[in-house]
């Protein structure tokens, strides 16, 4: 399928996963990601090696992912905020056991049961752990239906490359809205699978586990994983710049919010305000270095996100006091208008 088709973001993720060779999916119903399991049920249940299983809970679904990932199969689960909270125990085990998989979070308004409208208030949960212990997810933040598909394919490659869980962090708007998308089957590299638990024929035991009772041994293991994270931080930071070259003011914004911000920047430019956008595509690893470099050139930095101020903490760490860092956010499922963001940009001047 290389022609342009109209698809919902949730469905685009589903088709992209299949094209990337993921024929195994475990999930549990929750809005606003429901189109994704429905799409995969329709497709996978008709495929010879397709596995679609609606689990009894989010907890069970992520543990099914853990089991399948341990056998070297490309596997995915998806959910939305409260469901991701339930999955975090399993995500910690998966990260600690260094298993590749893709986890989709179509973020909704919270905390608590919240609502089903778009939000970005799971940023801390996605990038700072969420589950227990020292670990990291690679977190990709799409801003269009096309990117929902592209980043899903990229996510499987990154997961296999680094033996690490990857999260696709969308939101209720990206999941639900339809846009034209081009879906192209990617080349799939052959990855080293000498670690998988698929029957020890002709070899000794392979073991998937995350228990090291001796603290010194566990510390050594965590250091090994963090050496891997360091390589990811060096190689995999992704971001997009818009009108940054001559900018006096830099806005940092990601996902659906960055699209609103782009329009606000166009409006501000018409009023003569030199403002640019830096859009993190990987929110972990975060584009710290480039933001730090801009902090040497611009007068002010502002973070705009759909939360009470989560990503802004990473922006402040990157800017490290060089210039003031302002924040504008709407939360709990409310999206700002372009004029609202424009008004905040005008306050910077």
């Amino acid at each position: 399928m290389t022609e342009k088709v109209m698809m919902k973001g949730n469905e685009a993720i589903g088709e992209a996963a299949i094209l990337a060779g993921c024929l195994t999916y475990f999930g549990y119903p929750i809005t606003p990601q429901s189109e994704l399991p429905a799409y995969l049920a329709r497709r996978l249940l008709k495929m010879e090696n397709g596995i679609f299983l609606q689990a009894e809970s989010e907890v069970a679904a992520i543990n099914m992912v853990y089991g399948a990932a341990g056998t070297g199969k490309r596997v995915m689960t998806s959910s939305s905020s409260p469901g991701i909270s339930l999955k975090t125990e399993g995500i910690s085990y998966i990260a600690s056991s260094q298993l590749p998989c893709v986890i989709v979070n179509i973020v909704r308004g919270g905390p608590g049961l919240g609502n089903i409208a778009p939000a970005q208030s799971d940023y801390f949960q996605a990038t700072k752990g969420g589950g227990h212990g020292d670990y990291r997810l690679i977190v990709l933040a799409p801003a269009s239906v096309q990117e929902m598909a592209d980043f899903t394919m990229l996510g499987f490659d990154l997961a296999d490359e680094y033996r690490n869980p990857v999260m696709i962090m969308g939101d209720g708007a990206l999941g639900q809205m339809m846009e034209p998308v081009v879906l192209k089957k990617p080349e799939i590299k052959k990855y080293n699978h000498d670690w998988v638990t698929d029957g020890a024929k002709g070899r000794g035991q392979n073991l998937i586990c995350s228990i090291y009772l001796d603290p010194a041994e566990m510390e050594k293991y965590v250091h090994e994983i963090y050496a891997k994270y360091k390589i990811i931080e060096e190689n995999e930071v992704r971001y997009e710049e818009y009108l940054c070259d001559d900018a006096d003011y830099l806005i940092v914004s990601y996902g659906i919010t960055s699209r609103i911000v782009r329009t606000s920047i166009d409006l501000a430019r018409k009023k003569g305000i030199k403002v640019g956008l830096l859009r993190p595509i990987t929110v972990w690893p975060f584009p710290t270095k480039v933001i730090s470099e801009y902090a040497d050139k611009v007068k002010k930095v502002m973070a705009v996100e759909l939360s009470m101020g989560q990503m802004v903490e990473d922006v402040r760490l990157a800017v490290n006091g060089k210039v003031p860092v302002e924040f504008f956010g709407r939360t709990a499922g409310v999206l700002p208008s372009c004029n609202e963001v424009l008004a905040e940009i005008e306050k910077l001047v």
Binding site: A60, N63, G67, A68, T71, T197, D198, G199, A200
Partner: protein, 251 residues
């Protein structure tokens, strides 16, 4: 020339067991090892270890293992087996793991008739965490969290897992046995063999509940604990086959 009359199963490692003296895990591990050898399953087996005293079960076998979060072994086993239907997958779970925190996972794995085998060690107590009340702790039994004995008014009565799971259409085979004497050990091996065969023949979900001892947390000698298990547990948890769909001809 010396003749070898007794040896450890080939698929078991040289590592000394970490279990307490008188604990039943060693007996059950050996039966599992013997059957994996006899049924020639080693090259396609993936065991799923629980949280509990059996967490290190993978130390004692030389085939593949995955260590599951507490109670989630049936979900992990589902994830291993579904995309790899030719693997032989078993979970090894205790009573806290299976019948408390993992209640949802065991019921739904059984109900979907996952082609996995569950080896369920019921010793009426939490072992690894230090002797707390389990869902299978007997009425009146003293544990660190039921210090005056399990009070059924406030703590409920022990859960009979085989009986509960046998009500589900998906359960193909469910049997309760014990390892309190040689006869019981022989019956346990026979039950596990049957359960393994159910999976090898792709007939669905099988579970063997094995009444076991925990002398350390019961505060007894190894010998006394065998007697206590038989005198107190078997009357409440009757032995026998609770479900056998292979006989009903519909599995």
């Amino acid at each position: 020339m010396e003749k070898l009359v007794f040896d450890k199963p080939k698929c078991m490692t040289e590592r000394p067991l970490h279990y307490c003296p008188g604990c039943s895990h060693g007996i059950v591990h050996r039966i599992v090892g013997e059957l994996i050898d006899e049924m020639d399953l080693r090259d396609k087996t993936v065991g799923v270890a629980p949280v509990g005293c059996g967490v290190f079960a993978y130390w004692y076998f030389d085939f593949d293992f995955s260590q599951a979060p507490h109670g989630r072994a049936p979900a992990v086993a589902t994830g291993i087996k579904r995309p790899n239907p030719d693997l032989f997958v078993f979970t090894y779970q205790g009573d806290g793991d299976l019948a408390a925190i993992g209640t949802a996972e065991i019921i739904h794995a059984a109900n979907r008739s996952e082609d996995i085998t569950v080896i369920f060690i019921n010793n009426a107590i939490y072992g690894m965490t230090g002797g707390q009340m389990a869902p299978t702790t007997l009425v009146g039994q003293k544990t660190t969290t039921s210090p005056y004995g399990r009070d059924p008014e406030t703590m409920g009565k022990p859960i009979r897992v085989c009986e509960m799971l046998s009500t589900l259409e998906g359960t193909t085979y469910a049997e309760r046995v014990h390892v309190g004497d040689p006869k019981g050990v022989i019956a346990t091996k026979k039950a596990l063999k049957k359960a393994f065969e159910v999976q090898v023949n792709k007939k669905g979900f099988s579970i063997v509940e094995i009444l076991s001892t925990c002398p350390t947390n019961w505060g007894m000698t190894a010998v006394d604990s065998l007697g206590w298990m038989k005198d107190n547990m078997i009357p409440y948890f009757p032995l026998g086959v609770y479900k056998d769909k292979t006989k009903e001809g519909d599995a």
